[in-house]
Symmetry: C2
Subunit: 198 residues, 2 copies
């Protein structure tokens, strides 16, 4: 269904439209729920015909996978870049959490869908790549927390428990953050880090 390989201009247009559809689908799914949104309903909100979706996606579930990829790929890429920059473990953690919170807030709809459909992500065969990306990101954070604990500077009760707590609070941000709220992204992220490292 995508254009034949070799035609760069067409490929780019195809990819841009596809990403646009994914973005819109994330917004609709976050509000109405993935399963409770029928393909005709989704198509109507996106302003295209129902059948037209299948030009860009093999099926409804592949669209869901694309939403999760659009969420996880840049997050993991940015996290790896930050860790390569050097600095103390605590400095790196602070930078990582800032980037992470910014990402959660920016991709709030994606996050809500991602959390909502955890049962699909955890079980399906074709979800292995999404699961692995999530795992890799969590390991990055865990490594950082272990370095901080080993430095002895902070009094983390338990690195694994702290990791779970941090995952919980940051990801939960998607459920209450509002664009014109009292706290900006940096204040939220720093507040989280202060809780964790004291």
């Amino acid at each position: 269904m995508p254009p034949k390989p070799g035609r760069a201009a067409l490929q780019e247009r195809y990819d841009r439209r596809q990403a646009e559809v994914v973005l819109g689908a994330a917004r609709v799914f976050a509000r109405r729920g993935y399963d409770q949104t029928s393909v005709p309903q989704l198509a109507e909100e996106l302003g295209i015909a129902a059948g037209g979706l299948y030009h860009y996606f093999g099926g409804k579930e592949q669209l869901l996978i694309a939403i999760c990829d659009q969420l996880m790929d840049p997050l993991l890429t940015e996290a790896q870049a930050l860790l390569a920059e050097g600095g103390t473990a605590e400095e790196q953690l602070r930078a990582l959490v800032r980037s992470w919170v910014a990402h959660v807030v920016e991709h709030r709809d994606h996050m809500l869908v991602f959390q909502q459909e955890r049962h699909v992500i955890d079980h399906g065969r074709q979800w292995a790549q999404v699961r692995e990306r999530r795992k890799r990101f969590e390991r990055l954070v865990e490594g950082l927390l272990r370095r901080i604990a080993d430095d002895g500077a902070a009094r983390l009760p338990d690195a694994r428990l702290t990791l779970s707590a941090l995952l919980g609070m940051v990801n939960h941000t998607a459920q209450w953050y509002r664009p014109r709220g009292r706290l900006d992204v940096a204040a939220i992220a720093d507040g989280y880090v202060d809780l964790v490292v004291g």
Copy 2:
């Protein structure tokens, strides 16, 4: 559909069976997802015929509401009882979080469904009571955190942000806790409280 009023013995049997169905449905929904589980599938796993469910519930969504009630009612009741017992704010917080984590772990399936179906809970008209119970519980925790902040003992960066963080980490526990894990419920709860109050 329930037995006629006045027959206490029948009413009790009916209520017990109903609660049993809710419990089983929570387990199935947590694994397969609410929407992705058809009524015939659910009925088969519960060991009854599809039509039989409608003896206890007006429809599939009322069953979902019952799951959330079975989760929130005892949690709120116990929280209110703990707050009535007296003690310093920090002591009360520690007791409340212990009870809360125990509840999340005990009703892990309910929690997973509750979080999974957030979009339904937030929007539907008949979900107002569930929303209000959730709100009331959150206000209880918020009041406790404000008392701690006012006492000046701990260095909470922001009571509202701390509340969101605590909600996130405790509720997230349902997604990683395993019965024979390294940490027991009390250790988890105390770890969370230590992060929050320092």
